[in-house]
């Protein structure tokens, strides 16, 4: 684990240096008060959900992001919606294939193969505010602290509901803007949930009640309040505007994430998310 942290730090240091080296000096960003963002991304996630399997699964989720932010003298209000979908496969290979023997009335036996095509769908909605720490501002940096409210649902329909979770969290957030020589900011963000309402499948994994849809039954009686010691969902991101022209910017963003919850059995996920966004 220590090696991984060192690896992570070195990678970002390398990235920072490289960006400085190749940045253009004449591309001054013009901060807008109101900004809209549309983005596309890919998130490579490893999931271990002991409720369903001791095997690790991998997914490559593609996502669409929509955002709005308003920058004032004191801080930044932001709201972001991310809708995603991606197939889920065992880490060691392709889709899960199992076999069953069938016999017809004439006594003819056949072997049927059943391919379990698992797909994850979901969304993540965040509304937050970051206040600038004016006393720490300098020509080369700006620091913001604040929080966000987040609602996120990941759903895997079908035979095996690997990775299904809903959480509504109050997150602590920090943002660090480092202004390069070209005037462009390199933006680092860190978010950690302080308190969350987590919905996982119940112990029996089969929520079904008369008069309620599957989704309604999922949210009935399965909601638990969890603090940081039981639900961890750390996300670290780095964002850089590649192209800035008047009121439009094309930005690239990387986010690393790690999530863990322990009930009814442990669910752990680690993700690497890369996205391109258009801000206007």
């Amino acid at each position: 684990m220590k090696n991984n942290i060192i690896k992570l730090c070195l990678s970002f240091a390398f990235l920072l240096t490289a960006i400085q080296a190749y940045s253009q000096e004449n591309a001054e960003p013009e901060p807008d008060r109101n900004q809209f963002r549309i983005g596309l991304g890919a998130n490579y996630i490893k999931t271990l959900d002991l409720l369903y399997s001791p095997l690790m699964y991998k997914s490559l989720r593609t996502d669409l992001q929509l955002g709005y932010s308003r920058k004032s003298e004191n801080g930044i209000f932001s709201s972001d919606l991310n809708v995603f979908m991606g197939s889920l496969k065992p880490n060691s290979g392709g889709a899960v294939v199992i076999y069953a023997n069938e016999t017809d009335i004439h006594g003819v036996e056949t072997t049927e193969d059943m391919v379990l095509q698992m797909v994850q769908i979901g969304f993540d909605l965040q509304v937050g505010y970051l206040r600038e720490m004016q006393q720490l501002r300098s020509e080369s940096k700006a620091i913001y602290l604040g929080g966000s409210l987040e609602e996120s649902l990941t759903y895997t329909p079908g035979f095996m509901n690997v990775g299904v979770i809903n959480y509504s969290s109050f997150n602590a957030k920090a943002r660090f803007d480092y202004f390069l020589k070209n005037g462009k900011p390199l933006i680092f963000e860190l978010a950690v949930p302080l308190v969350s309402v987590i919905t996982r499948l119940p112990h029996h994994q089969s929520p079904g009640e008369p008069g309620k849809s599957d989704l309604g039954a999922f949210f009935s009686g399965n909601n638990k309040v969890a603090t940081l010691n039981h639900f961890q969902n750390a996300r670290f991101s780095i964002k850089y505007p590649l192209l800035v022209k008047r009121r439009i910017a094309v930005e690239i963003r990387y986010e690393g994430s790690w999530m863990h919850y322990y009930k009814p059995r442990h669910l752990t996920q680690a993700g690497n998310h890369l996205s391109l966004g258009l801000t206007f």
Partner: protein
């Protein structure tokens, strides 16, 4: 600028790939795929989730003690498959399956103590080709038609689709069969699905509100730990209700939600249950994967009829018992269906 974008993208991809390499560590992944570990995981999952230990009076610890040495000794997939099959056979439950990822081993059903056998007393093709007119297929699992101008027919072999499919389908079927003197409702090859659909369709034949089932599901590690029982009712539902005589046909292949539907239909005063005893596997089922990739299915509930009795492993006996012979079915004759038609004329 193009060069800059290319270099930055390259750097980011490098970061991405270097981080993906440590993802396995970050999720704490380690998998012990020994025969003992596979047995252990299967035994534990049943121990914590199977809903019928008390109903079936099973000493699961004894199964552990007797099978663990065999699991430790299992050197091949075939040997492990035999040990796991033997362990779950003690539960004698048609809802329990072991699905392997081997074309040679395929699967095992606990209640059948082997593969699921062919259904010999019913073939829907025979009904479709020899008896039905005006057949309308709503889905591949659901259709209706007429056996005579006065006797309607509805066939459903699974409740897999969304409830709305059955809502619309039942509206069409009951409209089309409104003028009949009676309906044969055929679930002789029903393999299960949603209990919501069971309750909904049975409610289309209901004259009053009645309890048809209570269901409780495991919510803890002890064999007697269950969530509060949930009561399921039928009550007049939908645009119209068909309250004229209905004959419900079942066989030993009628399973799971097919059986909860049988529970529900039998509460309606206008419904007569005919055929052979149902499979005797009512509960909701979950799937769990073992370290070697095999998948086991586990019934997590304890479902009871309106009389409070469990019919797990027993099945529901029809009021009128009628068993088709394989030889009749093979020559295109369905005597049970013919008998049902006579009763509704």
């Amino acid at each position: 600028m193009k060069k800059q974008i290319t270099i930055l993208s390259g750097i980011l991809m490098t970061v991405l790939f270097s981080l993906t390499s440590c993802q396995e560590t970050m999720v704490g992944y380690e998998n012990n795929n020994s025969s003992e570990s596979n047995f252990q995981q299967m035994w534990e999952k049943f121990d914590s989730h199977y809903g019928l230990f008390l109903v079936k009076n099973i000493d699961w610890n004894e199964v552990y003690a007797s099978h663990l040495p065999k699991a430790r000794a299992a050197k091949t997939d075939a040997e492990l498959f035999a040990v796991l099959s033997s362990a779950v056979h003690t539960l004698d439950d048609k809802h329990i399956n072991i699905y392997t990822n081997s074309k040679q081993l395929t699967d095992y059903n606990s209640g059948e103590n082997g593969h699921i056998p062919a259904q010999e007393g019913f073939d829907f093709k025979v009904v479709r080709e020899k008896y039905l007119t005006d057949y309308q297929e709503i889905t591949e699992d659901f259709g209706y038609g007429k056996l005579t101008p006065e006797v309607g027919y509805i066939h459903i072999d699974a409740f897999k689709d969304k409830l709305s499919v059955f809502e619309n389908g039942m509206d069409k079927a009951l409209n089309a069969l409104a003028s009949t003197k009676g309906i044969v409702f055929d679930i002789r090859d029903h393999t299960g699905g949603s209990d919501h659909v069971s309750a909904y369709i049975a409610s289309r034949f209901a004259g009053s509100r009645k309890l048809f089932m209570t269901a409780k599901k495991r919510n803890g590690p002890r064999h007697d730990q269950f969530a509060a029982p949930v009561e399921w009712y039928i009550e007049p539902t939908g645009k119209t209700q068909y309250t004229k005589p209905v004959i419900l046909l079942t066989t030993s292949t009628t399973l799971s939600a097919g059986e909860t539907f049988t529970f529900a239909m039998r509460e309606n005063a206008n419904v007569t249950h005919m055929g052979t005893k149902t499979a005797g596997a009512f509960s909701d089922v979950i799937a769990h994967q073992l370290p070697n990739g095999w998948i086991v299915t586990i019934g997590v509930g304890d479902y009871r009829g309106s009389d409070g009795k469990s019919y797990e492993g027993i099945g529901i006996t029809p009021k009128i018992v009628s068993l088709n012979q394989k030889s009749d079915v093979l020559r295109g004759v369905d005597k049970t269906l013919e008998s049902a038609i006579e009763r509704l004329r």
